[in-house]
Every structure is written in C-alpha cells, then in structure tokens.
C-alpha cells in the first residue's frame, strides 16, 4: 500500500521510500521509516494531497505519494 491509497482523515506509518527525484528531500522533511502521517485532504482538483507529518502541513503530488510505501494505523504516533 502506498501513501496515495490512504483516504483523507486516515493515519498511516511510513515503511519505505522508493527512489524518485525528491526522495532525499522527502526524507529530510521528516518522512523517514516509522514516521506517522495523517492524510488531511486532496486539493479541489484531486491532486496534490495535503498531509500532516511531524506536526506541520506538507503538500505533495500523488506521483510522489505513490513512491511512499505505508501501512495503515489507528492514530499518528
């Protein structure tokens, strides 16, 4: 399952990041293995998506979300 498949309002935990050209930046922004993420919403046109990670709001495209492997969880951290 990837971050792209998580519906708004659901929590998940990052398992792995597949290579893409923003991988290092995503890691530096705090999306490391084991980090909890809350998917907040999709933009009005369906993409990008807004997530809460490490207490702040980050928006990213689904193309990048697709390369982030996650597992659903009940609550963040």
């Amino acid at each position: 399952m990837t971050l792209k498949d998580i519906r708004p309002g659901e929590h998940c935990i990052i398992q792995n990041l597949h290579p893409n050209n923003l991988r290092k930046r995503l890691i530096d922004l705090g999306l490391t293995t084991g980090t909890g993420v809350l998917v907040k919403k999709m933009a009005p046109l369906g993409d990008p998506m807004e997530i809460v990670v490490r207490g702040y709001l980050l928006t990213l495209r689904k193309a990048e979300a697709r390369s982030i492997e996650v597992e659903k969880s009940e609550v963040t951290r």
Binding site: L17, H18, L29, K41, A43, P44, P48, L60, R61, E64
Partner: protein, 723 residues
C-alpha cells in the same frame, strides 16, 4: 572586516525579518517572504565593533534541490562565517531541528534564535529553553523577530562565543560514528565526513578532492553500509530525527487537549473540495477588479492628471525660458512624455503589489499554488506559476517580477518567457479600436478570441520549452503550507514600497535612455531634404516613419498594406498604449483616440479589411512586449542568451501566427480546397498538442530503478524517457 555572522534557517522562519531587525530597517530588502534569492549582507553593532550579517536563502537541508539552496549550503560547507545564527521556528520544532543538527555537525560556533514563541504560547504549548540549550550544546535565545524582541540578547551571545570551541557535538549510534571515524582522516574534517556519509560525492562537492581520495571514501562507504538495516541515505536523517524526537519529548510540553487550530478552521473553507476553487477565483477576480477596475482606473486617472499638470507646468516653464526648440522637445516629449507613459502604471502596480503582499504574508499564496497545481501541471508548470501568469493580464512588469516566488530556476525562466503572450491591459485599446471598427456586432467575441489566443500561445510555448530547450526539467511540487498569519501593516507596506521603488528606479534609469532614443527617432527627420526637428503631426517624415516604410515589405505577407500600422507597431515598443495614439496621429485625427476609439473607426474601415485587422491585432498581441516589460524580463532571466532567444522567439511566433491568419483568411473562402487544408492543419496541430500533453502527467524523474516500474500506469513508452 569584523566578524561574519550568517543567518541560516528553514524557509519562512523569519530570517529576513531578523536581518532587518539586526541591520536596521533602512536596508533594502525587496524580496518576497521566504524567497531570499541571493545572499545579502548588512552591518550590525556587536559590542564595540561591527559585525557583518549575512542573510542566506532559506533551506530545509544541506542536501540541496535548487540553486538558491546551494548558495546557502556551499556557504556553510566552505565555513566562510565566524558564527552561525540558526533561526528555528519554535512552532515547528521537529522539522526545524533537522537543519540545526546538520549545522551542529559543522562544529562552528553557533547560536539558536528561537523565533515564533508567540505561536507556541497561543497553542498552550511550552518549550523548556534551558533544557533545549543543554541537549543541543549551544545557546538558545528566544526572540520575536517581528517585534525586535531578544535581538540584543542574541548579539550579546554571538559576541560571547566568537572564536570559542563548542563544548559538545551531537553523537549518533555507534555504527554511524564508527563509519564517520573512518571517513574523517581521509577528508580532514568531521563535518565533511558527515556530509559524505549522507550525500556521497555531492555532499562535499564544494570542496575539491582528488580521485584516489574519492575512491577510498567510496570503498569505506560500501563496507560500512552493510551494518545498517535501512538504505544508506536514510541512516543519518533517521538518526537525527530519532535524536530530535527524544529532545522534543523532553523540552516540549503539549496541552492534554489540543487547542482549536485556527489554520485548520480557515483551511476547511479555503481549500474545501467544492468551495476552494470558486473562492480562489473570487479572490483573484477581486484583486484584478480593484487594481484594473473602477477603483484602480479612478486612482490612475487622478495620478495621471496630476503628472500631466506637473509636466504641463514644466513645459510652460521651459517654453518661457526660450530654449532651443530641440532642447524643449527633448525634455517635454522625450523625457517627460516617456516617463509619464510609464509612471502612469505606478498606481495600478502599487495596488497589485499591495494585494500580493497581503496574500503572501497571510499564507494564502501557498494555498493558491496547492489548488492550481493540478491544472498547471498539464503544461509542465507547477501551481506556483499560476499567480504570475494571471498578473500578466494586468501588466507584464509585476507579473515577471512575481516569478521570484517560484523555487526552481527553470520554472522561473519558463514562466518569465511566456508571460508576455498573456494579453496585458495596455493592449486592450488596440482590440477595442479594431474590433469596434470592423467587427461591430461581434466585437466582444473578437476581443475575447484575442485573450484566448494569448493564453493558448503562452501555455503551448511553456510545453514546447519543457519539451525542447529545457528538456528533462520536470516541475517539482513539494510545498509546506505555512500557518495563517495576520499580515502586519508595516510589513505589507514595506513590501509594496520596496517593489514600487524598484519599478520607479528602473523607469528613471534604464528606460530614460530608451525614451531619448525613441524620441530622437520620432521627432527628427528629413523634410524637403533638410534634417530638422518635427512637429507632432509630422511623424510621417520622422526616422521612425522611414523605418516603417523601409520594413513594410517584411510586413506585407502578414497583411500590412500601409506603412502607418508598421510605424504604430514600432512605437508600441515604448508602451502598448502608443499604438492607438500613433495611428491617430498618422491618420490625422484630431482628439484623444485612446480615450475615444470611435474617432478612428472610419480611417480603419478604409485602411483595413477584417482579416488584415485580425492579423494586425494578433501581431500586436504576440510581438515584442514594451520596453518596461523587456527590462523586467532581462532582469529576471539574468542571461543575455535567454533574453535574446525569447525576444526572437516572440517576434517569430507573432509573425507566424499573423501570417497564418492573413494567408488562410484571405484565401478564396469559397474554395473548398483551402478549407480542407486549413482544417487538416488545425487537426494535425491539435493532435500533436494532445499527444504532447498526454505524455505529461507524472513527475517521476526516470523509471529506471523504480520499484513500481512494472505496475506504473503513467510510464512513458520509451523507458529511459524523462517526462
């Protein structure tokens, strides 16, 4: 020179505000919030001496993505400063401390300026500052940059630690430290060892090392990376975040019940699934309406009236002085006439700048990019390109300046290059006159088609640039949504003033020279064999008039049968408003044709056929922008090569489109053949465009090595192709 103090921190953490506070507000900081494009320096008093304060572009990490970030990272890596002041946004402690850790690894003397404590308190949270300082091993000074609180304490602390060794460095897991221990002797610095461990060769590219050293380093990395369970590039970041989490758990006290979040509530409406887009549309419409609608026009008219009165007063003064006619003509028509044409834009620009500052300071601009990204991606741009392009409908000058909000140089360049195609406000009188004279009942449709043509050419050019000359540059999108903040009047006014001032200074310097050249070409010429100064209604004999007649053959294929429109196009170079004004002079109309276009109707009806008029409008729309816009573009492109390219490109596109319109339009319309050819051509263009567009859509750099390559739906046909 005294002590060098570098301000380093995440984007939007308040570095520029702190820089202003430390160096005095008389420092010119005309940049947009969060987008310090170049490093800036200023002076501050430090004890009894002076310190040089360096404001570096904001960055999330020393592993950089953009050129601006590289400026900062290289600066840190080459250790060009004596002290680092790391600005940390206390309301976003976890992520901000990541960069802090990278900076701590440098071993340089460092102070943390903890900003935004007011937001922390509002959330009913608390930070144990002495504990934080103890855990990080560096002094932590709480400040409120916007109110200049704590700045004295900060400078006192800087003074204390200059030239002193830091007592402690962050330590990570045994396996990691062992690897760094092995890398350190090869690189001669523990900081570089950490950088190499994290980023490989790229991490130490700011310092030169010989091939054998690099090979030895890689060999060590291959051996050591076996000891870690996660990928090598995630080891150090993950350990930093682990350390940060343990620090946060100790120093950050959160309330048991989460306090109602204002940003959340605002976003529930502003980025709502259904309301988000209409609200965005309304906000944009409102900004436009205020700047270019009745209010803006009213202020502009008043302002222009004042300027005219002032210049009229000067003119009469000059006439009274009895100077040589060419001197008074130079001053009145060349200098002041040109300046009046440009400075007349100022009120509208100031209104636009004001609203931009409001949108940006409040945090809405980031939401606008979030909302529009999906639509802009079709054309290879990111959501952030939308605002500058929209501003282009008003005036290209502020629009081009607004491209600074884009974070990638490629996106900035492409957006700058396509903005002039978007029909600006000054071109509207041209359409009004021509459409009104020749298309009577359908005039609004014709005007609308012009705007549409501009948008289509702009977007297709963006796609074309991405596909050809800037191949491989995929517009990234990864953006933090900042907390909403109440914009402070002082900040908003400061930004508005800085940008307006920039425009005025340009008008007074670069443009002045151009006006004098154009004045010379317009008001001097040969009449009956003598070269002399011309009257207002003798432009036919001017050098510009000769130039118009000379280049007329070039314009014939696109429908110009008369030298007058050619001259009008040339004067449009000063300001697009001049096109209609010049036509008025050339056709010998008495009265203000810009205010009352119908005066020109009969002359245009005799001189132009509808097709000729349409081709003329298209050429005026797409051809070279006015000199003010060109100056702004050359400033933002920062490259003669690109500037020359885009001017040639724009002229060529304008010529081709006008040619197509005129040739197809004036072909025997009854002829079935031409209709088929035209239809076929349109279909081919449409199909090509569709294919180009369809291939976009994903932002992956390359499919090579991607784990989901097999199941990926948006994989391009050619496997190695970048999209």
């Amino acid at each position: 020179m005294g002590i060098k103090v570098a301000l380093v921190g995440n984007p939007n953490s308040g570095k520029t505000t702190l820089f202003n506070g430390l160096t005095g507000s008389n420092q010119s900081v005309g940049n947009w919030p969060g987008v310090t494009v170049e490093k800036k320096t200023g002076k501050a008093i430090l004890g009894e001496s002076e310190a040089e304060i360096i404001d570096l572009p904001g960055l999330y990490s020393l592993s950089t993505l953009s050129l601006e970030e590289e400026v900062s990272a290289t600066f840190v890596l080459q250790q060009k400063m004596d002290v680092i002041v790391n600005i940390v946004d206390a309301s976003n402690l976890e992520r901000n401390l990541f960069l802090t850790h990278q900076l701590l690894e440098s071993g340089l003397p460092m102070v943390i300026a903890l900003n935004c404590m007011d937001i922390v308190r509002k959330r009913m949270e608390d930070i144990n500052i002495p504990k934080l300082a103890e855990r990080l091993g560096v002094p932590v000074i709480p400040i409120t940059a916007s109110r200049k609180h704590g700045l004295l304490d900060l400078m006192r602390q800087v003074e204390l630690i200059v030239g002193k060794l830091r007592p402690s460095m962050p330590r990570y897991s045994a396996a990691l430290e062992r690897a760094v221990d092995r890398l350190e002797p090869l690189l001669g610095s523990r900081f570089l060892a950490y950088r190499f461990f994290e980023d490989g060769k790229k991490g130490i590219s700011a310092v030169h090392f010989d091939e054998p050293v690099l090979h030895a380093l890689e060999a060590v990395m291959v051996e050591e990376s076996r000891h870690f369970s996660v990928d090598a590039d995630m080891v150090l970041p993950a350990e930093r975040y682990d350390r940060i989490l343990s620090i946060c758990a100790e120093v950050l006290a959160k309330p048991v019940q989460a306090v109602d979040n204002v940003t959340d509530r605002i976003d529930q409406i502003l980025t709502h699934k259904w309301f988000g887009l209409p609200i965005f549309g309304s906000v944009m419409f409102l900004v436009f309406y205020l700047a270019f609608g009745p209010l803006g026009t009213w202020i502009t008219d008043g302002f222009v009236g004042l300027i005219d009165a002032f210049f009229g007063w000067i003119e009469s003064g000059i006439v009274a002085l009895g100077m040589a006619p060419w001197v008074s003509s130079l001053i009145v028509r060349g200098v002041f006439g040109g300046l009046a044409a440009v400075v007349g834009f100022l009120p509208q620009l100031a209104i636009l700048f004001l609203f931009l500052a409001l949108l940006e300071d409040s945090g809405y601009m980031a939401r606008a990019a979030f909302i529009m990204d999906r639509a802009m991606r079709r054309f290879g741009l990111s959501g952030k390109s939308f605002i500058p392009m929209l501003l282009g409908f008003g005036c290209s000058v502020p629009a081009v300046t607004a491209t600074r909000t884009l974070d990638r140089p490629e996106d900035r360049r492409i957006t700058t290059m396509v903005i002039p195609f978007v029909s600006c406000g000054a071109k509207a009188p041209i359409y009004a006159v021509f459409a009104g004279a020749l298309f009577a009942s359908h005039s609004y449709l014709v005007v609308f088609s012009m705007y549409l043509l501009g948008i289509i050419v702009a977007l297709l050019s963006a796609v074309l640039f991405k596909k050809t000359i800037m191949k491989g540059s995929s517009a990234n999108y990864l953006m933090e949504l900042p907390e909403y903040r109440m914009p402070t009047p002082k900040n908003v006014l400061l930004h508005t003033w800085e940008r307006s001032k920039g425009f005025l200074v340009k008008a007074m310097t670069v443009l002045l020279g151009a006006f004098i050249v154009i004045w010379f070409l317009s008001y001097f010429g040969f009449v009956d064999g003598t070269f002399r100064l011309l009257e207002n209604n003798e432009i036919e004999f001017s050098l510009l008039g000769y130039l118009g007649k000379f280049i007329l053959p070039l314009f014939r294929p696109i429908g110009f049968s008369d030298w007058r429109p050619a001259v009008a196009i040339l004067t449009g170079f000063v300001a697009k408003e001049s096109v209609v004004g010049t036509l008025g002079i050339l056709y010998g109309i008495q009265g203000d044709v810009v205010q009352n276009g119908s005066l020109l109707f009969s002359s245009i009806q005799t001189a132009f056929s509808p097709v000729q008029a349409y081709a003329f409008m298209a050429f005026a729309l797409l051809g070279s922008p006015c000199i003010a816009a060109l100056t702004a573009m050359s400033k933002e492109l920062r490259s003669r090569k690109w500037f020359a390219f885009i001017v040639v490109y724009e002229m060529m596109v304008a010529y081709l489109v006008a040619l197509l319109i005129f040739q197809l339009g004036s072909a025997d319309t009854g002829s079935l053949l031409s209709a088929i050819v035209a239809g076929g051509a349109i279909l081919i263009v449409f199909a090509t465009v569709r294919r180009v567009l369809k291939r976009r859509g994903n932002t992956c750099g390359s499919c090579h090595g991607c784990a989901i390559e097999g199941s990926c739906a948006s994989k391009p046909e050619e496997k190695s192709g970048k999209s």
